[in-house]
């Protein structure tokens, strides 16, 4: 920073040579801040670029000769996000000495750092213009929102969004506060929580952009706005400010939350910390002035970072989808529609045949879940409870509905060979008997033929086959969801660890990501291996043994898990699982597994 100041005092021609963010002041006193990260196709926020951006802003604030500033980018797009380490992938507590409270305080201060920089920018009484070339995402759009005027250069492809929640993060640069104050909470919530992006025209209509001009006009328009006396005061810093559509206790604003909270639960089954925190930050933030609102955002960002699952969630959700082809349930018959790639099996599985085939990772784990659902049904649990509980674990689909997609006849045939190596005859027999009755006695083979556990009407939504409760009458005493949930999750993660032991997969990082993005394993866990790690291999083994004694030997932990439990080891390298950890802890998974399994055997 000192270097920056010294150079700016260097008289006119004030320009700073920085690596990522260029700064220079034109003759008319307007500072041009240009984002241009070397050697990258896109601009992102990194620790270095953030430092340089700070220096640039401080120069604008302190240099009396500067009358305003224009932010721009030299890339195809504006700024499209942040480097994940800066987003807080390091393990909580790492590198921070002191008490628990000091550690949390340090996190909080850190979470506020960038947000406060943007606040200083918007409150410094000099106008800032965002001259937006291309798209702006995440922190890039948050920087634009903190500017007093936003002009975009005409583009049919450019879009704008704050998609942090999609990878288990939340906005941390004031986005949860500025966006609803700019476009209203009702329009902001889909963007903040559900990754909705806007086209240029939509952004203009919503009020995120003030103007769209051609590439040639962009610089002139930005400069012109400042020279014409553009106001350096944000709407929300004016006394007369009112939230568009009203605050949470207005009639219209109330609906955003009354209905939005229900939609949030509908979509997440209470399993998405980031979205819940964003919703709370928007609600609480809109009830107070901007300075306090930004602190509230920072507190939720801190809470999310302190959440022990967050790191795994981000790791798995940000894993490049294109590398996960083998975990996908492929669209029936066509290779080309790999777009089903989206994480969207949820909506699609109905139209998707499962062709990974028996024996593969995805098939085995998902089959384990589905058959556990069937097992629970055979114990006399109400099918509605089974289905709801399945969704409540965070699984994208419920077990009996998935069973129909598999085909009940296929499931029946696969039980013995593929699914339950440790199961005893009784378990297998009772499952087979149930499926046998469905297929042979009632002619219900699944989705494709006459329905299965569900009726699948040509019109309307599938519904649980009404006769199911007559054929398999529920017991009078029904279990609580809390008792069923572990069965659904533990059996899948156990199967995943068997696959690892057998060499069907050999990279836990990829497998975790594949589980979530491919078959809809709960994203809050970070994937089956992260799930076991979080519980602890020893505790996980004990829990499995406990489940095995109650519900059947299919829960018996495999050799790998038992060895890990004895050694107290985990799938991810505990210290190395920050961003770099992806390679450091994963590339050697195979070797590590072999080491766990085979060393010490001789003694």
């Amino acid at each position: 920073m000192d270097a920056g100041r010294l150079m700016s005092m260097d008289g006119w021609g004030t320009s700073l040579s920085m690596r990522n963010v260029r700064y220079h002041v034109e003759d008319d006193g307007i500072a041009i801040i240009t984002w241009d990260l070397p050697g990258r196709a896109t601009n992102i926020l990194t620790p270095d670029s953030m430092d340089e951006f700070r220096i640039a802003i401080e120069n604008v604030v302190e240099d009396r000769g500067v009358t305003g500033a224009i932010l721009r980018s030299c890339k195809k797009d504006f700024i499209v996000g942040m480097q994940l380490p800066a987003a807080g992938l390091e393990l909580p507590g790492e590198g921070i000495a002191g008490s628990e409270r000091e550690r949390i305080q340090a996190f909080y201060n850190n979470a506020l750092e960038f947000s406060m920089l943007l606040r200083r920018m918007e409150k410094c009484d000099k106008p800032f213009v965002a001259a937006i070339y291309g798209s702006a995402f995440g922190v890039g759009l948050e920087i634009c929102l903190a500017c007093h005027y936003r002009i975009a250069c005409t583009s049919s492809e450019a879009c704008y969004g704050l998609p942090e929640a999609g990878i288990g993060l939340m906005q941390s640069g004031g986005g949860t506060q500025r966006l609803p104050r700019l476009i209203g909470a009702g329009a902001a919530v889909p963007m903040l929580l559900y990754e909705k992006t806007l086209s240029q025209q939509q952004a203009l209509e919503a009020g995120i952009l003030d103007k769209i001009v051609t590439a040639e006009e962009l610089a002139g328009e930005a400069r012109g706005w400042i020279l014409r006396g553009g106001s350096p005061v944000q709407p929300w810093d004016r006394r007369s400010f009112q939230i568009p559509g009203g605050g949470p206790y207005s009639t219209e604003g109330g609906r955003v939350f009354n209905i939005g909270n229900a939609i949030l639960r509908k979509k997440t089954y209470g399993n998405h910390a980031a979205r819940e925190y964003i919703m709370s930050a928007v609600y609480e933030g809109l009830l107070v002035p901007m300075d306090q609102a930004l602190r509230i955002e920072g507190r939720y960002v801190t809470k999310l970072r302190l959440n022990l699952n967050t790191q795994s969630v981000i790791r798995s959700l940000s894993f490049p989808r294109r590398r996960l082809g083998r975990y996908r349930l492929r669209p029936r018959g066509s290779q080309k529609d790999q777009v089903a790639e989206g994480i969207v099996i949820a909506g699609r599985v109905r139209h998707v045949g499962i062709e990974d085939g028996p024996g593969l990772f995805t098939w085995r784990c998902l089959a384990a879940y589905v058959l556990e659902g069937v097992a629970v049904l055979s114990e006399g649990v109400d099918p509605a409870l089974i289905e709801n509980t399945g969704k409540m674990t965070g699984m994208l689909r419920s077990p009996l509905a998935l069973a129909d997609e598999f085909g009940l006849d296929r499931l029946r045939d696969a039980i013995e060979d593929e699914f339950t190596p440790t199961s005893d005859e009784n378990e297998i027999a009772s499952l087979r008997a149930l499926l046998e009755r469905m297929v042979c006695e009632f002619g219900r083979k699944g989705t494709l033929v006459g329905g299965g556990f569900y009726d699948h009407p040509t019109k309307g939504k599938p519904r649980i086959w009404p006769s199911l409760v007559r054929v398999f009458p529920p017991q009078r005493e029904q279990p609580k969801p809390e008792r069923l949930k572990p069965r659904f999750l533990y059996i899948q993660a156990l199967e995943a660890s068997r696959c690892l032991e057998e060499g069907i997969i050999d990279d836990v990082c990829e497998a975790d990501a594949g589980a979530i993005q491919g078959w809809g394993f709960p994203s809050w866990t970070g994937g089956p291996f992260s799930f076991i790690d979080r519980i602890g291999s020893k505790e996980y083994c004990e829990a499995c043994e406990n489940l095995a004694s109650k519900y059947g030997r299919r829960f018996t932990p495999n050799a790998l898990l038992r060895r890990m439990a004895t050694k107290g080891s985990s799938f991810y390298n505990r210290t190395g699982s920050d961003a770099g950890g992806r390679s450091s802890s994963c590339s050697s998974t195979r070797d590590a597994v072999d080491e766990i399994l085979f060393t010490d055997r001789v003694d």
Partner: protein, 402 residues
Amino acid sequence: MVDCFIYDSVRSPRGRGTKEGSLHELTTLELATQVLAAVRDRNNLDTSCIDDVVLGVAEPIGEAGGNLARVAVLNAEYDQGVGGLQISRLCASGLEAVNIAVAKVASGQAEMTIGGGAESMSRIGMGASGGSWSTDPGVALKTYFVPIGIGADLIATLHDLSRNRVDEYAVESQRRAKAAWDRGYFDRSIIPVNDINGLALLDRDENLRPDATVESLAHLKPSFAGMGKLFGFDSVARQRYPMVDSVNHVHHPGNSAGPADGAAAILLGSKAAGERLGLHPRARIRAFATVGSEPCVALTGGAPVMTKVLRRARMVADDVDLFELNETFSSVVLLVMQQLGIGHDKMNVNGGAIAMGHPPGAGGAMILGTVLDELERRNLGTALAAICGGMGMGVATIIERI
């Protein structure tokens, strides 16, 4: 009648009730939630034993509206069988809420209850919930409505309380509050208010100005002179009190209770219920009372309600070891001391709302807890807590240690 005992008392520190106050970020719900959680955790309480939670909220609207008590019960993750009741008796809400919670136990219709209150003046200002008294011409004219500060000034005028006298009282309140804080007299009841990550937002009353002197207060402009003159309120007051020539506006922010954010909760119950839960009773509720008095001057309910509650307890003022009367304005307390012959050495011995601020929904419960702590510290027997509210109302409670 069943004897009702106090088993515990907690309060938050009082945040300055402005946008700059440390508790401004926090919702009223969260304030209420944190004191309820503290009552549960400090006493290892199985909350299914609680019949009802009664919370005072003077301005029940928006986030503080609906039924804050029940929402706070749910948000604090109390057993879902616990009820919630929200009441407003304006500034006296907090003590009234405790009294209602006491009544439920004393009548034998509840075993354990919690009484208390919550208010965020910085978020929901005084008057936010509306009301017809000042607005409906029919009643406003008939009852000589004036803002409560005009009433306080009217008390000073009617009872010859000079600016110097009310300022002296205020300075002493500041001195006592500071001394009490420094010596840890509030420690037993205070719980820090935390953010969602457990970082303390506030652990000490924020309003204190211990360096205030009579000289420094002399510079402050009276708060109600302007509105009294410009808006006609002085004239309304004179018409109600024709013996007044002109209202002597003596009150200003330095000698009146600052608006504050905060919450308090008092755990109450029968002897049997306390024994079942392994709790030790700290005090018994002897009596409580409510009065209405002349609404224009509004704040003269103190002496009547204290007299009434003493009579109900078959006591006289001399039988009481410590008095706590909410310091809404200096004149309010000075008047009661004058009328009942109570020395300042027994009145508000650890300062009061002038120094520490007043969150109307919670303030009454706070002073009851404060005076109980002080009884124990001094090893004394009996205390009387009272509070005047708007429209002439007064509420009082007498407690005695076991």
